[in-house]
């Protein structure tokens, strides 16, 4: 058993060299100041954080949180039934269907997005989708759906059909089955999937930019502005640290769920 532990070394190297390092850099940058060249003068200054507390920027955070939350709810609601359907199929068929779900993602992200936008421009269902908030949500759903289905399928697969059949025999309605059988068994996976979908959405900038046409100013847009256009790297770094704190909070809340899921 001891030898097995050595296999954790690659992970540790990855964690220290490729995760801790950039995070540390960002963290120390947030305490720096913007210098003449637009680079960072490292030091200890809370300028960046104080600027961040401006209601204007907090509003950007709030809006991004709202968008990410709605998007997560939407994606989970869309993914759960699909995952359930797959879980009732025999393994081989489920794998095949799953691959059909994933194959569109073997093209380039940008091409996919532009193709999706071409469809949006045709104004399906008579609505305008480009330059709108709901358009952004649609594009996000398009992008994240398969990634939500995978882990949910993983969890739902473990729910034996016999359990559901038994509940049906006892006269439980579909709704009852969902609430009393499926939910308790899969809620940990749902939380984990929610995090997987929620957190990256916070940093999204391409979709709000391209699909939203610059109408919705999100955290991702803000970061692009700070790191590139206005070259205020400490402010951008401070925003990221803030984002990190929010995400860690979300992680801790779902952390218990993850612990039970991984066992």
């Amino acid at each position: 058993m001891d030898r097995r532990r050595l296999l954790i070394i690659p992970y540790l190297l990855w964690l220290l060299g490729l995760v801790a390092a950039p995070f540390a850099l960002i963290f120390s940058a947030s305490f720096g100041q913007k210098d003449e060249a637009g680079l960072i003068q490292f030091g200890f200054s809370t300028d960046a954080y104080r600027t961040l507390l401006d209601p204007l920027y907090l509003q950007v955070f709030a809006r991004t949180l709202a968008m990410a939350s709605i998007h997560t709810l939407l994606t989970l609601t869309a993914a759960y039934p699909a995952a359930f359907f797959l879980s009732r199929l025999p393994r081989k068929s489920a794998a095949l269907y799953m691959t059909f779900l994933l194959v569109p993602f073997w093209t380039n992200y940008l091409i996919r997005l532009l193709a999706f936008m071409d469809v949006l421009r045709l104004a399906p269902f008579g609505f305008e989708w480009t330059f709108t908030f709901h358009g952004i949500l649609a594009a996000l759903l398009y992008n994240y759906l398969p990634f939500a289905v995978l882990p949910l399928y993983s969890a739902l697969e473990k729910v034996p059909s016999s359990l559901i059949e038994a509940a049906q025999d006892l006269g439980a309605s579909r709704r009852r089955i969902l609430i009393s059988v499926l939910w308790p068994l899969t809620k940990n996976a749902v939380f984990a999937t929610a995090l997987l979908v929620f957190i990256p959405a916070l940093g999204e900038f391409l979709i709000p930019e391209l699909v939203g046409g610059g109408r919705s100013y999100m955290l991702g847009t803000f970061l692009q502005q700070q790191f590139l256009t206005f070259r205020n790297w400490p402010l951008g770094a401070a925003a990221i640290v803030f984002l990190l704190l929010l995400s860690l909070l979300a992680l801790l809340l779902g952390g218990k769920a993850l612990a039970e899921e991984g066992a």
Binding site: R3, R4, L6, L7, A37, G38, L39, D54, L56, Y57, Q59, V60, R63, L114, M117, R121, T130, F131, E209, L210, G212, G213, G214, R215, Y217, T221, F222, Q225, F227, L228, T229, F230, R231, N232
Partner: protein, 355 residues
């Protein structure tokens, strides 16, 4: 079981590293001389780069960026070993690069092509006497009018009309550039970015916020928006509009009464370039009479080479969009770098887009 896995892991590692080395084969830094260019994508033809490389026995390598700021960030963070020989900054970025001492002063003796340049182009505000840059593409930012969406427009179209006329509500798009939009608003109020005070900037943004309902959005890429009939009046770059107008007859380029922004994309040599001699040769080859002529024909942007204009077919050289008249030229301004206003502009721009 783990005991048996380790040797297999080692084997896999060896395989991986040997795979890595076979892709490395195409990356030999020590070989024929290189010309490393960092550029926007639409300017250089593969064919041109290849023929230049063959004629001058040099390997031309092009790297791409999609915004001036991306270029600046990468430039600042890379050392000489990973640097470039030629970069393509826009006019305001040239100013910034000069101040950051990232450019080599130009040796005019190696740029005979400058003798074919118009007088006016030889002394721009952002780089007096062309000490560090050579203008390549010269364009303007005006309005693309979609006749399909907006059938009739008044003869004297102005930004003011575009921003205030209620019949254009929701049909206007602006470029996703704080300074361009600010310049536009300032010009409506008879002011310019060069001389604006903080109060002027605040007033301009207040005006924009007041009329934001006119604006459908600030698309990052205007071409798809024009092609998709999504804007009646689209603030756009001249070259983009002309390209779209080639296929789409209902798109026309208009210069509003208050004027427009004129901008240049320039060739410059980074201070740490290792092959500046070849860079000079490239500039001469690209912008001599023949080269400049094909450049304009391909990209629909004019150059500063007056001989090229003579060589161009009539339909190009008399195109008012590519070669605006002197009266129109008088109403055009470069975007200037106003470092003192940067933070204010950042805040106001965020505010404008957030609401």
């Amino acid at each position: 079981m783990a005991r048996q896995k380790l040797p297999h892991l080692i084997v896999f590692f060896l395989l991986f590293f040997s795979c890595l080395s076979c892709t490395k084969k195409q990356n030999d830094g020590s070989g024929p001389a290189e010309l490393r260019i960092f550029t926007w994508s639409e300017y250089f033809d593969d064919a041109f780069l290849r023929s230049f490389g063959e004629q001058n026995k040099v390997k031309v390598k092009a790297d791409y960026f999609s915004s001036n700021e991306e270029m600046l960030a990468k430039l600042q963070l890379t050392d000489a070993q990973n640097g470039y020989d030629l970069i393509l900054p826009s006019d305001y970025m040239v100013r910034t690069l000069i101040e950051l001492k990232l450019l080599q002063p130009l040796d005019k003796a190696q740029l005979p092509v400058l003798s074919e340049f118009e007088q006016e182009a030889l002394n721009p505000e952002y780089d007096p006497g062309l000490g560090f840059s050579v203008p390549m593409a010269i364009g303007t930012t005006g309005i693309a009018w979609n006749t399909k969406l907006l059938h009739k427009i008044p003869a004297d179209l102005s930004w003011k009309m575009v921003m205030e006329n209620p019949s254009y509500k929701g049909k206007v798009t602006l470029v996703d550039d704080a300074k361009e939009v600010l310049q536009m608003a300032l010009s409506i109020q008879g002011k310019s970015l060069a001389k604006a005070s903080e109060a002027d900037v605040k007033e301009a943004f207040a005006y924009l916020r007041k009329h934001k309902t006119q604006v459908k959005g600030f698309p990052a890429e205007t071409r798809p928006v024009m092609e998709g009939d999504e804007c009646g009046f689209c603030m756009a770059y001249s070259g983009d509009v002309l390209s779209v107008a080639k296929e789409k007859k209902e798109i026309q380029y208009l210069l509003p009464k208050e004027g427009a922004t004129i901008w240049t994309d320039n060739l410059a040599i980074p201070a740490n370039s290792k092959n500046s001699g070849m860079a000079y040769k490239f500039i001469n080859a690209l912008l001599n009479a023949e080269g400049a002529k094909s450049f304009t024909q391909r990209t629909r942007y004019r150059t500063a080479n007056f001989k090229a204009r003579i060589l161009l077919p009539n339909e190009v050289s008399s195109d008012k969009v590519i070669y605006p008249s002197p009266e129109e030229r008088k109403k055009m301004h470069y975007l200037v770098q106003r470092k003192d206003l940067n933070e204010l502009i950042d805040r106001e721009w965020t505010k404008l887009k957030s609401e």
